[in-house]
């Protein structure tokens, strides 16, 4: 791809910091070198995810041979450097800066959300001053210092802000959203939204993660528990096929909030609003908590054994019926594998609402590859990327912002085919109509990101041709957490289109768009976490566990097999789909092991391609036409089958609707002027 891919081993630089000798790669800043040596240098404006700006002056240290104190956050190490962090001058300067910051800090730590993970608290405790030399009430300059919700989900308490501008910078540099800014100047500088209005933004929550104090916090978890009382549980987000790593902060097996950790996962700390706030899907009246079976026309709650036995009898007696097994891309590998085994045993056709499986099948047949040929980070290092069709920019928010960042940082040449919104178009060197010939003319080496769900036959063929030639890397975005797994197990949209109308028995697993039972269907067996139009028409309804409630593996758009943890307690008597369909398969004579580990093991035996996700595997399917995208506000992001259950995301949607006039991006018509 890139011509400039010179791989040279990073040079190591040796230096002394206080009494320790450290060896770090060249280019490391002194502050990081100190951290590697276990020495804390206080800092506010520095954050490893951001470019150093050396603005707050809290991190000053002495460096031999340099005049005056130096900002350790922006000074690269040099061979033989001698750094002193404990000298009087440095210690005195830390105190002075903190004293200045504390001049109007409320010190209401006992009722502050950030207590226990506040950098101001920690640095003040360790470095002083332990008595503030003067106090100036905030708001003298007429700036509104009152705390206020920026939105139903994010809150800003201006008087706790230390003006490090990390929030402003993460929003612009990384999330490409530009929703935050500074206002006024000098010691009156404040952080602000545009016109100090409501926060109209992606709600990725990165500003909350990066804020060193309690100035920006998540509203839903306010006044629940102190930070140290929550457990940290890293897991995989189940809202889309990027498969971001999230850190669930839980208390007594309930999720209070989702945070991110830039040191783990494929997302480097980035999340979208779904991953950040779409965790409250387990609550609500619509939740199904007990198995239900149709008796005299009505669905009545029954014990598990009764429901399972009824399903068993039904399936045994239906040997010669036309059966369809329809699965969702939100199910884990274990769930899908158990469902697949059951389908095989009873001879049901494997269907999916997504076209992804069919595309994968064509890819393997025509091009000899079986999915994405590059990973996310390889895409961002490419010389060019082409987004082909709306799903290419609507489906995977994190991928989209990674591309924007790569464009700004490395000059990645981005091209879009179709009608991208301004946010995408402004980064493109070229925007064209979706035409096969235009796509064929792309420079060699361009990574193709096609909308697997909605491309016309012609366009898809053009993509196939180019990929077959070997000159164009391919990344297939997937809309649901395990769309790729669904494909791997052979669930197809074409099967759905062909077989659904004549299905006599339909098994429907997981969140689906299908909302009415097909005409000729005599028996409908559904597993679902929530009541849906389909579940209410079923003969048998199994209450299913949600992603946060069960362990499971998910295969993402870049063919990474990632394992998720159960981070939240199961509501009601719900079982994971793996247990539901696995038990049913076993009742019908199979012998599936029913622990997540054993199921994954068995799935790997049956589908060897799962063992090494880097091996591109053939076959497979996903989900249907109107797919959710974890996209930008205003796109289809909130149509997600899981996300639509979240009350927080509903509040966000309403808030964004109300605050349109504060959007950092223009409505399309503004561009005609």
């Amino acid at each position: 791809m890139g011509e400039s891919e010179k791989v040279s081993a990073p040079e190591t630089v040796k230096l002394r910091i206080d009494d320790r000798f450290v060896a770090v790669p060249a280019g490391t800043v002194v502050l990081e070198a100190a951290r590697a040596a276990g020495i804390t240098i206080p800092r506010f404006c520095y954050h490893p995810r951001l470019k150093p700006v050396a603005a707050c002056r809290l991190c000053l240290v002495e460096i031999e041979g340099m005049r005056g104190l130096q900002p350790s956050c922006a000074t690269p190490v040099k061979e033989g450097m001698i750094v002193r962090t404990q000298g009087d001058a440095a210690l005195e300067s830390h105190k002075e800066v903190l004293d200045h910051v504390l001049r109007f800090h409320p010190l209401d730590c006992p009722k502050c959300e950030a207590t226990g993970h506040c950098e101001l608290e920690d640095f003040t405790y360790e470095f002083g001053p332990h008595r503030v030399s003067y106090y100036e009430p905030p708001g003298l300059s007429g700036v509104d210092y009152n705390e206020k919700p920026w939105s139903p989900l994010i809150r800003f308490d201006r008087y706790k802000c230390v003006q490090c501008t990390r929030c402003v910078r993460v929003c612009a540099e990384i999330h490409d959203c530009y929703a935050l800014t500074t206002d006024y100047r000098g010691h009156e500088t404040v952080i602000s939204t545009f016109a100090d209005g409501p926060l109209h933004c992606d709600h990725c929550g990165s500003c909350v993660d990066l804020c060193p104090t309690g100035a920006i916090t998540q509203e839903p978890s306010r006044y629940w528990k102190k930070d140290w009382e929550y457990e940290h549980r890293a897991t995989i987000c189940a809202h889309c096929g990027h498969g971001c790593t999230i850190v669930a902060r839980t208390s007594r097996n309930r999720i209070a909030k989702i945070e991110s950790d830039h040191e783990i996962g494929n997302n480097g700390g980035r999340l979208c609003s779904l991953g950040r706030f779409g965790f409250d899907i387990h609550v609500g009246e619509e939740r199904i908590e007990k198995p239900r079976v149709r008796r005299e026309g009505r669905l009545v709650e029954v014990p598990w054994r009764e429901a399972l036995e009824e399903a068993e009898t039904m399936l045994r007696g239906a040997k010669n019926s036309k059966m369809v097994a329809l699965a969702s891309g939100f199910l884990s590998v274990q769930d899908l594998f158990a469902f697949e085994r059951l389908a095989k045993r009873i001879g049901a056709a494997k269907a999916a609402e997504s076209r992804e499986g069919d595309v994968l099948e064509r890819l393997s047949r025509e091009c000899g590859i079986s999915g994405s040929t590059v990973e996310f980070d390889e895409v961002t290092r490419a010389s060019g990327v082409a987004l082909i069709g709306a799903g290419a920019w609507e489906r995977d928010y994190v991928l989209t912002i990674l591309l924007a960042e790569a464009r700004k940082e490395r000059g990645l040449a981005l091209r879009a085919f179709g009608r991208p919104p301004y946010r995408i178009a402004r980064h493109c060197v070229e925007v064209r109509e979706l035409e096969p010939d235009a796509i064929r003319a792309l420079p060699v080496g361009t990574v193709l990101i096609p909308d697997v769900e909605a491309l016309s036959e012609e366009t898809l063929s053009a993509v196939m041709e180019m990929v077959r030639g070997g000159d164009y890397p391919l990344l297939l975005p997937s809309a649901q957490a395990n769309s790729r797994g669904l494909g791997l197990f052979g669930f197809r949209r074409s099967v759905l289109d062909e077989k659904l109308s004549e299905a006599e028995i339909l098994l429907a697993a997981g969140p689906l768009h299908l909302n009415a039972r097909p005409g000729g269907c005599q028996a409908l067996i559904v597993s679902s976490a929530h009541r849906t139009a389909l579940s209410e028409e079923a003969e048998i309804v199994f209450p299913a566990a949600l992603p946060y409630e069960k362990p499971g593996a998910y295969l993402n758009a870049a063919h990474q097999l990632q394992e998720a943890e159960a981070v939240s307690r199961v509501v009601g008597e719900n079982w994971p789909d793996a247990a539901i369909w696995g038990t049913l398969a076993n009742l019908l004579g199979d012998s599936l092991p029913l622990t997540p580990e054993a199921l994954l093991e068995a799935a790997r035996e049956d589908f060897p391609a799962l063992s090494d996700p880097r091996v591109r595997v053939g076959g497979g399917g996903e989900e249907g036409g109107r797919l959710p995208g974890a996209g930008l506000p205003g796109s289809r992001e909130h149509e997600g089958l899981l996300a639509s259950r979240s009350d927080y995301l509903r509040q966000l949607r309403e808030h964004l609707e109300r605050s349109r006039d504060f959007s950092p991006f223009p409505p399309e018509e503004a561009f005609s002027c």
Binding site: G142, T181, T182, S192, F194, G197, P664, C673
Partner: protein
């Protein structure tokens, strides 16, 4: 002076323009904006001259004006509000057609600027940054105007300065400015 600008004298500074009005004006001066942009490497660089143009037309720069200005230059509204907030000559809130800026920095403060400000408030019957009911005046305390040896100093609108202003001069000045308003 274009029709747009003459029209503005009555409403200027007092009324928040409608979005359509702002867009209309931007359309009208589009060639001028493009010419401005062509002088710099980035469109962003044309922001300050554009804001001055908008300020002369609308008197103050409410969010609706800032946002449309941002979109014409292809930058974020927050980048505009940051600049508007930084410079005291750009105002986000309604102001008088004549803005009386009294220096409150050290030399002027020592020579009685506070008393001058209080007197302006009394004579006009309004608080700081609050336009008079007829929209003619508003008063502001500003930082050093660079004429410290003639403190206290008062500036009105873009380029008229008054030095050695005493509280007892205030009533007379206001009367004079009513008769011969500053541009």
């Amino acid at each position: 002076m274009s029709a747009g600008e003459r029209m503005s004298r009555e409403g200027k500074g007092m009324r928040t323009p409608a979005r359509e009005e702002v867009r209309e004006f931007l359309r009208e001066i589009r060639p001028e904006i493009e010419e401005l942009c062509s002088r710099y490497e980035t469109r962003r660089a044309a922001l300050i001259p554009l804001l001055h143009r908008l300020r002369r037309r609308f008197g103050f720069l409410p969010p609706v004006v800032q946002r449309e200005a941002a979109f014409v230059l292809g930058i974020a509204p927050g980048d505009v509000s940051r600049v508007v907030g930084f410079y005291s000559l750009f105002r986000e809130k309604p102001c008088g057609r004549q803005v009386i800026m009294v220096c409150g920095t050290l030399s002027c403060a020592l020579r009685g600027a506070n008393k001058v400000i209080e007197t302006f408030k009394e004579v006009l019957g309004v608080d700081l940054r609050e336009p008079t009911p007829d929209g003619e005046f508003s008063i502001e305390r500003v930082e050093c105007l660079g004429w410290c040896d003639k403190a206290p100093v008062v500036q009105v609108n873009d380029s008229d300065y008054y030095d050695n202003v005493k509280p007892e001069d205030v009533a007379g000045l206001v009367e004079r400015w009513r008769k011969e308003p500053h541009e």
